[in-house]
């Protein structure tokens, strides 16, 4: 039985529990064991607490990673969908190569000739820079058996006198090959008589292709299809 006993003087506020017999023995054993159990329990709980914390963090991180991975995949698809669905042409004016593309697939790869970067000057301070323009364009005209209207610079290059603007001498068949695609400002993608110069920067701005490649490009590309030149 437990009963409170008033402490002796000078001992401060302490309460003693008076116990007798078996209860006293039990009490002594417990008082020895409890701190031991408490100490052990606190050690175990620190380790367990850490494990729980790690587990929570791992789970949280894993979930975040899965979510982020999914978002990244959606973004990749969104970027891929920016590519035109219709066939398009890419012209590399540094390497003088073309790629006819549809989506991500390369339909045809070929060598070409692009602008020579020659700056032609003549009397009267007239000048022309022969370079192929860079950027994104559209096919705005398709020509079969195109004729070439020979411009002033072509006569100057050869040191020949320049005829009048409407002289029939300016109109020359066969020079541009069997097919041509126009993409604005007088620039064309066309065939060529000068096949041995393909792969070199030799033109006055147009893109020249071999006859067979030009045929395939002409048949594949329609009005409005994109041309990318860099």
């Amino acid at each position: 039985m437990l009963k409170l006993v008033k402490p002796r003087s000078g001992c401060g506020t302490r309460f003693l529990f008076a116990l007798s017999g078996r209860r006293l023995v039990l009490f002594v054993i417990l008082s020895a064991l409890v701190p031991l159990i408490t100490w052990s329990f606190s050690s175990i709980s620190t380790e367990s607490a850490l494990s729980l914390s790690h587990f929570a963090k791992l789970t949280s991180l894993s979930n975040q990673i899965d979510s982020l991975r999914h978002r990244v995949e959606l973004l990749r698809v969104e970027f891929r969908d920016l590519t035109p669905e219709k066939p398009y042409l890419i012209v590399n004016s540094t390497a003088n190569e073309i790629r006819l593309m549809q989506g991500q697939a390369v339909l045809r790869k070929a060598i070409c000739s692009t602008g020579s970067y020659i700056l032609l000057r003549t009397y009267g301070d007239r000048k022309w820079l022969f370079k192929t323009p860079r950027g994104r364009f559209k096919v705005n005209v398709k020509l079969k058996d195109p004729w070439w209207y020979k411009p002033d610079w072509a006569y100057i290059e050869e040191g020949l006198p320049i005829p009048s603007l409407y002289s029939p001498k300016r109109y020359q068949p066969g020079v541009l090959g069997d097919f041509a695609l126009g993409f604005g400002n007088g620039y064309l993608i066309h065939g060529t008589l000068y096949k041995r110069f393909l792969g070199l920067p030799i033109t006055h701005g147009c893109v020249r292709l071999d006859d067979q490649d030009m045929r395939i490009v002409f048949q594949t590309m329609s009005h409005g299809n994109r041309i990318y030149i860099y």
Binding site: L61, I65, R69, I118, R121, Y230
Partner: protein
């Protein structure tokens, strides 16, 4: 827990719990670290794709460098028109030290804007011809090839936020390329990319003066 207040017998005072790290805990720490890095990489990757999609609305060429996949790409309005393999990569110490640090996320979050550049080749390899007579026309020789055919190609692009981005052609007599990014002892944030000669030239000649660079570290 049983609380027993003050006894005549002094209780053994509990010492502060000592955390002895078990092997399992160490493994857990490593796993957390590994996942944190994965998360970081994915975050940078997300910014990369967001910026590439946003770049599609730009009217001109933009440059993208995916250092994880070793690819450098020229995008034009959402279409990757030219893609080149990065043959070797060098990172500055200043950049290497920042990897997987939180400030780096902010650094790569948006595209870098080109501020200035220098190169060993010209943007446009112009050859001048002056002709006023047939004799002049016949006498002049024209280089059918690029006049800078034998010039070693090295292009240094200075972007905002302190990024120095260098494109360099692979030297023909180099046999061994570092398999992993080589660290250069430069405390600035520099990236040196070695790629094919024609790739470097094509990229340099295409990018406008106000181009952007999108980076995936």
């Amino acid at each position: 827990m049983i609380l027993i207040h003050t006894f005549e017998v002094a209780l053994p005072t509990a010492s502060p719990p000592s955390i002895t790290v078990s092997p399992d805990t160490l493994k857990a720490f490593e796993r957390i670290r590994s996942l944190s890095r994965t998360y970081f990489d994915l975050q940078v990757n997300e910014y990369f794709w967001i910026n590439r999609i946003a770049g599609a609305s730009e009217p001109s060429f933009i440059l993208t460098a995916d250092l994880k996949d070793s690819l450098i790409t020229l995008d034009l309005q959402g279409v990757p028109v030219h893609q080149a393999k990065i043959l070797a990569l060098q990172l500055s110490r200043g950049l290497q030290d920042c990897l997987y640090q939180r400030p780096l996320l902010k650094w790569v979050r948006s595209p870098f804007k080109l501020e200035s550049y220098t190169a060993t080749i010209s943007k446009e390899p112009v050859q001048e011809r002056y002709i006023s007579s047939r004799r002049e026309a016949e006498s002049q020789l024209i280089h059918l090839r690029d006049p800078e055919d034998s010039t070693f190609v090295s292009i240094s692009l200075e972007f905002d936020r302190g990024l120095n981005f260098v494109l360099r052609e692979v030297e023909s007599d180099s046999i061994n390329f570092p398999l992993f990014p080589e660290i250069i002892s430069d405390h600035n944030k520099s990236i040196v990319i070695h790629l094919g000669r024609l790739d470097a030239m094509a990229i340099y000649r295409a990018i406008p003066d106000n181009t952007s660079l999108i980076l995936n570290l």
